[in-house]
């Protein structure tokens, strides 16, 4: 052994603790469940610019978000992709812009960004799509490090930046955002996750790693911030209403948010995944005596704030759905490697129990870091499944970890007859054998075949469009809800459908995943049933109207208009 005195003196004695790591996989498969649609086929040639610098400024590591939206109302899902941009730590040497791709209805897309006027101007992060002005056309809110942008849809294939006019010029570093109607006045309000306070500390360099370069700082070192809740005034403007509420008091490092109703009281709640500090569960308690809205932050007592060892985790992606089929919303959070992801089962009393181990999710995700994700019924058998997009935030992790890699595999879980999630990634197709620096994930049916497809934003790379081939043989009904008294998007509606003697339920949540926004339509899977015997829509307040329909033909999309009926 060769150890000199000098070498020895160079070694310090303090033990540090950095938890890094990985996953091993082995695949081999025939009939794929999802098939990659390559850029040569789709025409989507846009590539995310992560602006990766030798200094490794943290905003570089987070994007991009993505969305499925029908911006031109032609009934076909278009695609929006968020890019980075000029910032106080990066001046692009060549043009960098977002991308809006129009669906050509033949499996290809056309870049219409310039014409649409949605190129962006800041270091973009994510996107939240919602019809905030109830005009029937989707608008977009783009989050960023720097400044957010609200793009109002002009109904002619173009958008207008109305951020200042709408009073939504949110400062700092915003990530995921979600449209929802917290006060049930029929207009979509906006919640915007704020990540860390990066102002004035952007030059903080997180040391030299084992290969002598800077690495991305763990967000633990940065100051937490409060997220923002904006009330829709109904006149094209918004008012920030979080001040004085639990939302402003809860200092976090928000990355993911889903709007749902955890206690079935008809008021939409918010579940926020935070990185390195506890998650937040903001329960909507309705109007308070002083005119201020009441929010309770109950994540700790609900059992969703910390790990079961009482430690905050690195929460990133998040979602909610009635996974167990009990009529109550269950939650999901993806964390960083070795923290396990969480499958929070609703105990129906504003508490949850982490069933990730029971579902096999803990074991499959032990070495992964999860961002974009979604609970949805990918095979239209009527039960909720799960899709996870993963990737380690540290691009140099491969150099000093034996198991954890920067690029990670996608994961697909199918809900079996035992009501448990089963990892079927090994059988899901070649794309599940590949590795990606995945971040945002959006779901949407871009070819209108009733099988929900997936779009993934890769950090510093091309997006990944996956066509769903798993739902063949199962029947479905696609709904486009149109509120007339409630918000136009019907967010918060409860959908009950009965087919072949089985009654199922879905709450129209909004948000979920990471930095991304999804096809606003709901696809109801009915398996082998050849019709839907009964469909019930419980519209959210203010009307709380219940519309009931019988004998609905299947395997097509329909519009359901509040109080008016079903339209083919």
């Amino acid at each position: 052994m060769n150890l000199t005195r000098r070498k020895w003196l160079g070694l310090a004695s303090a033990f540090g603790a950095v938890h890094l790591l990985g996953r091993q996989t082995a695949y081999a498969q025939p009939a794929p469940l999802f098939v990659e649609v390559p850029p040569s086929s789709s025409g989507i040639t846009w590539v995310h610019e992560n602006a990766m610098s030798p200094s490794r400024y943290l905003p570089e590591a987070l994007g991009p978000g993505c969305a499925f939206l029908d911006f031109d109302n032609d009934g076909w899902m278009d695609i929006f992709l968020v890019n980075s941009g000029p910032s106080d730590f990066w001046k692009p040497t060549k043009p960098v812009r977002n991308a809006l791709y129009k669906n050509n209805r033949d499996g290809t897309f056309t870049d219409v960004t310039e014409k649409a006027g949605v190129s962006g101007a800041y270091f973009g992060m994510g996107v939240a799509v919602g019809d905030y002005d109830n005009d029937g056309w989707p608008d977009m809110f783009v989050t960023a490090y720097g400044k957010c942008i609200l793009y109002k849809n002009n109904h002619d294939g173009t958008f207008t930046d109305v951020t200042e006019k709408a009073r939504l010029a949110t400062p700092g570093w915003t990530t995921s955002a979600v449209w929802f109607d917290y006060d049930n006045d029929g207009r979509l309000d906006l919640f915007v996750c704020s990540f860390v306070d990066y102002s004035g500390v952007r030059k903080l360099e997180c040391g030299n790693n084992k290969i002598g370069r800077n690495y991305y700082c763990v967000p633990r070192v940065f100051k937490p911030t409060a997220s923002f809740l904006y009330h829709n005034n109904g006149d094209g403007t918004f008012t920030e209403v979080s001040k004085g509420t639990a939302i402003a008091q809860a200092l976090g490092k928000g990355l993911g948010v889903v709007a749902t109703d955890v206690n079935n009281d008809g008021r939409t709640d918010l579940f926020v995944a935070n990185d390195t500090v506890q998650n937040f569960l903001f329960v909507n308690r309705g109007p308070g005596p002083n005119g201020r809205w009441n929010w309770d932050e109950i994540a700790l007592q609900a059992g969703v704030g910390f790990s079961e060892s009482g430690r905050p985790r690195s929460g990133m992606g998040v979602d909610a759905a009635d996974l167990a089929g009990t009529g109550w919303q269950d939650l999901f959070v993806a964390n960083v490697d070795h923290e396990m992801y969480s499958v929070y089962q609703n105990n129906h009393d504003e508490t949850f129990r982490d069933a990730a181990t029971t579902h096999g999710v803990a074991r499959s995700t032990r070495l992964l870091s999860g961002w974009g994700l979604k609970y949805f019924d990918y095979d239209n058998d009527g039960a909720i499944d799960l899709f996870l997009a993963n990737g380690h935030p540290d691009d140099m992790i491969d150099s000093y970890s034996m198991q954890v890699k920067y690029k990670e595999p996608l994961l697909l879980f199918h809900q079996g007859d035992d009501h448990k999630l089963h990892d079927v990634s090994d059988q899901a197709g070649p794309v599940f054998q590949q590795y990606f620096p995945a971040r945002g994930l959006a779901i949407g049916d871009f070819d209108n075949d009733g099988a929900i497809d997936v779009l993934i934003g890769n950090n510093g790379g091309a997006p990944l469009l996956l066509k769903n081939t798993a739902a063949k043989g199962n029947n479905w009904l696609g709904l486009k809800l149109e509120g007339t008294q409630c918000n136009r998007d019907g967010i918060g509606a409860k959908i009950y459908w009965t087919a072949a003697g089985k009654k199922r339920f879905r709450l129209k949540n909004n948000g979920g995943s990471f930095l991304s926004s999804h096809d606003a339509r709901e696809v109801l899977g009915v398996g082998s049933a050849n019709k839907i015997d009964e469909l019930e829509i419980h519209w959210p307040a203010p009307s709380k109207r219940i519309d009931t329909f019988a004998q609905i033909p299947i395997n097509r999309y329909v519009r359901v208009v509040e109080g008016s009926g079903v339209f083919g």
Partner: protein, 369 residues
């Protein structure tokens, strides 16, 4: 490193009126010396029915039982012997050895402290006491006990290793370096790789540490703590599967390795195999009675299993002892809420928020650069 002490019978009184007891005891001693411990034990017991005050025979029986791995019974015999004759030569050291074998490291240290006080030149007691302190994480005591021994036994690598490790833990790098140099002079030894790996861990060179520990394991898989340190380095470099194997390997060498029991228990608890996890935590507590980390894990298992009041009791005790133990406050808050004590739950939650804010304020990014 150390070996059990077999007491020989001295001054055995004649057993009147018959020769039978004398023959009995001579036969038992012969069997014990010949290695037939199972044959010796019943004869000792039979003899002690006749002569229960035969202090040395209790001690001999203890040694035979210890040799058979029946440590609980051995401890009882040693204690009887020491009650009858507190200064009985070797009995206390044997009692300490039995405790050590049982993983009752703190009890072993208590007995060894007495042996060391009464006989400071007893090298075996010194070495064993140093080892106990090292296992209990009492590095300052390791240094206190082994520093003089190292001066009189400068070539003893075991002492150099333990003392050097304690120095490194205590950040006394210069002192540690002297001992490392001494070990390195002896060539490619497991001890040297172990200390080098420990030092590399200190500068967060986990991959380097992992490689050193791997070499140490290859050279001497029975070196105390070698598997634990290798397991830690593996964990920190992302190989948790191999890490688990190494923790288990340490338990094969030392069933009462605190770190191994704690870590394996934590992994099992994460897998929600609560009963098995509890066994590991309880064994960890045998090595380090009252250890907050092991007690916390057991409290959380109770909480997970719906025994909120059991959890509350332990957690209240923990936060009283360690007011900065944030995780315990989190779990205690949850326990209170589950027990429908929201005011107490909120109080704990406020403490969590205060502790979190304090920790956050210490982060470099909390201040503008």
């Amino acid at each position: 490193m150390w070996k059990p002490i077999l007491l020989l019978i001295l001054g055995l009184r004649a057993v009147a009126p018959a020769q039978t007891p004398q023959e009995l005891i001579q036969d038992a001693i012969s069997k014990q010396q010949a290695g037939d411990l199972a044959g010796a034990v019943p004869e000792y017991r039979q003899f002690l029915k006749i002569q229960p005050e035969a202090t040395a025979i209790h001690s001999n029986l203890g040694a035979a039982l210890a040799g058979l791995g029946r440590f609980e019974e051995a401890v009882a015999e040693y204690r009887t012997a020491l009650r009858q004759s507190p200064a009985l030569p070797g009995a206390r050291l044997n009692l300490a050895l039995a405790y050590y074998k049982m993983g009752r490291i703190a009890d072993a240290a208590t007995q060894l402290t007495r042996v060391h006080a009464e006989d400071p030149k007893n090298d075996q007691a010194v070495l064993l006491l140093g080892d106990c302190y090292l296992r209990m994480g009492q590095d300052k005591d390791v240094i206190r006990v082994l520093q003089p021994a190292e001066k009189t036994h400068p070539d003893d690598l075991a002492i150099a290793y333990m003392l050097g490790t304690a120095y490194i833990h205590e950040k006394q790098v210069e002192h540690g370096q002297v001992l490392v140099d001494r070990i390195l002079r002896n060539g490619d030894s497991a001890e040297a790789h172990l200390m080098l790996g420990t030092a590399k861990m200190g500068v967060q060179d986990f991959a380097g540490a992992r490689d050193e520990f791997a070499k140490a394991v290859a050279l001497n898989p029975n070196l105390p703590q070698v598997h634990v340190l290798y397991a830690k380095a593996l964990q920190l470099t992302g190989d948790s599967d191999q890490s688990l194997k190494e923790y288990k390997a340490e338990l094969a060498v030392d069933p009462f390795s605190f770190e191994s029991n704690l870590q394996i228990g934590a992994m099992l608890r994460q897998e929600q195999t609560y009963d098995e996890a509890a066994q590991y935590f309880n064994r960890a507590l045998q090595t380090r009675p009252g250890d907050p980390a092991a007690r916390y894990q057991l409290a959380v298992i109770a909480l997970d299993q719906g025994k909120a009041d059991d959890a509350r009791r332990e957690l209240e005790s923990l936060v009283k002892e360690s007011p900065q133990f944030t995780e315990a406050h989190v779990s205690l808050s949850i326990a209170y809420y589950r027990l429908k004590r929201p005011a107490d739950g909120k109080r704990e939650r406020d403490i969590v928020q205060k502790l979190t804010a304090e920790a956050q304020a210490k982060q470099p990014g909390a201040k503008a650069q």
